[in-house]
């Protein structure tokens, strides 16, 4: 018996020995070198990009367009790892706590309160945007702050979108144009509207839009205020929602599925062009049309960043720079894969490039730019995100 236990322990030590970490953390001075050097040294490396993976169009853009391009131009192998952003932040936190200096994540797709948390806990690499040549194209206003948190060069703006509702014009003859009309419509058509749970990025944003519609400016500026009117509005429509408001779609993807199946008449999301690709592929109804509520549409920017312990920061920087190039942004903007608003300031581009962006046709599911005039709202304080997550379950869902 004793002999067995000992041999087992020996085996354990042996196996643990196989897992000894590489003791060669990348020097922190990458940001001090010129981009040309970084670009050269990044050749033939592998970059792991961690991002939310719930949208086939977005995944295809990375797998079928970006990865082959990086391979061709820089001989970089891009691996996309589909993981929820909140989980990525938890992982980085644990690695920081345990003192892991060489992690596994090179590029992370991030914004809002995830960025706030990452910044607060010092989980990001550093002032990466200062070395990227393509930052000269990026819209300065979009770049400066992320949902009210100063970006301080820690992340680079990748896309800029507006919150938009979409509906099926075959079923909805006179679509509501503000929150009040939406409430009446929901009451008259029970079971045909819902929004995702507030743990979902899009569902949380729907609640913030209600806040913009029903709360006073003073309340909106105070994250500690009691948003009574918002909860009242949501409770008033609750009995008339899909499944009588007893449950909500857990994710935006689930709401999209309900909409695609014709179970509800509305879907919603950040990105005014998101329905184009879905209509084209036959997933969404043909007569999908946009609504931009008069109460306002929150403008949101999403970003790319590099974690504090990225194993290949040089490759990460080259990848981000490529993603910010006018060509890559154009491919992201048109409806082939994704249809995501560009983060570039088009006036900085050459006129031929400007024309290419202008020539991208807008489908009937995309609102005309003029529709947004006077309706664009800035993001509320990121602490509101967390407040909604805490309060909504007991004040509305229950």
């Amino acid at each position: 018996m004793k002999k067995k236990v000992i041999s087992f322990l020996a085996l354990g030590t042996l196996l643990a020995g196989c897992g000894t970490p590489d003791a060669t953390p990348e020097p922190k001075n990458v940001l001090g070198t010129s981009y040309q050097t970084i670009e050269k040294e990044a050749e033939k490396s592998t970059v792991r990009m961690y991002m939310w993976g719930g949208d086939e169009g977005i995944n295809a853009y990375i797998d079928e367009y970006v990865a082959p391009r990086l391979k061709k131009e820089h001989n970089i192998t891009l691996e996309r790892v589909p993981i929820e952003t909140a989980d990525i932040i938890q992982k980085l936190r644990a690695e920081k706590q345990a003192g892991k200096e060489k992690g596994v994540i090179d590029v992370v797709w991030i914004n809002g309160d995830n960025f706030l948390n990452a910044k607060k806990d010092d989980l990001l690499y550093g002032e990466i945007t200062k070395v990227l040549p393509n930052m000269k194209y990026v819209d300065a206003a979009a770049q400066s702050s992320d949902s009210g948190t100063k970006t301080e060069s820690l992340e680079a703006a990748w896309g800029k979108v507006q919150y938009t509702l979409h509906y099926d014009a075959a079923d909805v003859k006179s679509p509501p144009t503000d929150l009040k009309a939406l409430k009446s419509w929901v009451k008259e058509n029970p079971g045909r509207f819902t929004y995702p749970e507030v743990t979902d990025f899009t569902g949380n944003a729907f609640v913030r839009h209600v806040m913009y519609g029903v709360e006073s400016n003073a309340t909106l500026k105070d994250p500690k205020a009691d948003f009574k009117k918002t909860w009242a509005y949501l409770n008033e429509i609750k009995p008339y929602l899909w499944k009588k408001g007893k449950t909500y779609p857990k994710t935006l993807a689930q709401l999209d599925q309900l909409y695609a199946n014709g179970d509800v008449d509305f879907t919603m999301g950040f990105n005014e062009r998101r329905a184009e690709q879905e209509v084209k592929s036959g997933t969404f109804p043909k007569q999908t049309r946009p609504i931009v509520l008069k109460d306002g549409s929150i403008a949101s920017t999403h970003f790319l960043s590099v974690p504090f312990n990225a194993p290949n920061p040089k490759g990460a920087l080259v990848t981000i720079n490529t993603l910010l190039s006018p060509e890559a942004q154009l491919k992201k903007y048109d409806a082939t894969y994704w249809g995501d608003g560009t983060s570039l300031d088009l006036s900085t581009l050459e006129s031929s490039e400007q024309k290419q962006f202008a020539d991208v046709p807008a489908a009937s599911s995309t609102p005309k730019p003029s529709v947004f005039e006077g309706k664009v709202r800035t993001e509320l304080d990121p602490s509101v995100f967390e407040m909604i997550r805490k309060e909504w379950p007991s004040r509305v869902a229950r």
């Binding site: 087992f8 948390n117 749970e197 499944k243 449950t247 967390e386 997550r389």
Partner: protein
């Protein structure tokens, strides 16, 4: 040495579990437990999870035992093996595929019927195969002996079969109860927003937002683990003498 060695496995399991538990305890303060036990959201989640777990487990046990009795001697028992090849995630997909448009038992209903049906789909075959080897080895001579001795049908059943089946049935039931109470995937895909089952609620508490809710999630894992600990100690203590007797082949 031909009697085996349980220590390597015990060391591995206990090492990882107790260490993880110790980390959980060290992440919490007494105040967190107070907050948890007075939190209505948690208590309702506990209530609905118990309801789902207990109902699914009992039905799975009853049907599983009956099927094992009827099908143990047939070659068609292999049919029931087919659901065993389907991971829980896959079973949830089947529920979405077929039940989405069905009222009352469809996904996303507060009665959690779709969740329970999915568990039954997976767990009835589990119970069946957990018990099959035992049922197949039941010695029919005990039954004959019972008839010879003129025992009542109930006592005959107990002495010829029940006594051998009791321990495995309790074990299977306990495994299912614990598994269903904490599982994440199926309730996450088919459950409702409120009240959530424990696994989903704990996972959300842990991963969402800033760090402020994490101690609550750890407190939850400590409290629930403790509760099930007690149950298990009780069960092992009660059934061990019986199991020993049976393996010695001189039961009552």
């Amino acid at each position: 040495m031909w009697r085996g060695n349980a220590y390597p496995a015990a060391l591995l399991m206990a090492g990882m579990v107790l260490y993880g538990l110790w980390v959980s305890v060290s992440m919490t303060s007494p105040a967190d437990y107070h907050e948890l036990l007075t939190d209505d959201v948690f208590l309702e989640s506990l209530a609905v999870s118990s309801y789902v777990a207990i109902v699914s487990t009992i039905i799975a046990l009853i049907i599983g035992v009956i099927l094992a009795r009827i099908l143990s001697r047939t070659r068609l028992a292999a049919l029931l093996a087919i659901p065993l090849f389907i991971p829980h995630l896959g079973a949830a997909y089947l529920a979405i595929l077929y039940l989405s448009d069905v009222p009352v038992i469809g996904p996303h209903e507060g009665n959690y019927f779709s969740v329970m049906l999915t568990y039954l789909y997976k767990e009835i075959p589990f119970v069946f195969f957990y018990l099959l080897p035992v049922v197949r080895r039941l010695d029919s001579r005990y039954q004959e002996l019972g008839i010879m001795l003129g025992l009542s049908p109930v006592r005959r059943f107990w002495h010829a079969r029940g006594v051998f089946l009791l321990v495995p049935i309790l074990e299977a039931g306990f495994i299912l109860l614990a598994f269903i109470s904490f599982a994440y995937e199926i309730p996450a895909l088919l459950g409702v927003t409120y009240p959530k089952l424990l696994g989903v609620y704990a996972f959300d508490l842990y991963t969402q937002g800033d760090l402020s809710d994490q101690p609550l999630a750890f407190a939850m894992s400590v409290v629930l683990t403790g509760g099930l600990f007690l149950l298990l100690v009780l069960m092992t203590g009660l059934t061990r003498p019986l199991a020993t007797k049976i393996s010695r082949g001189r039961s009552e």
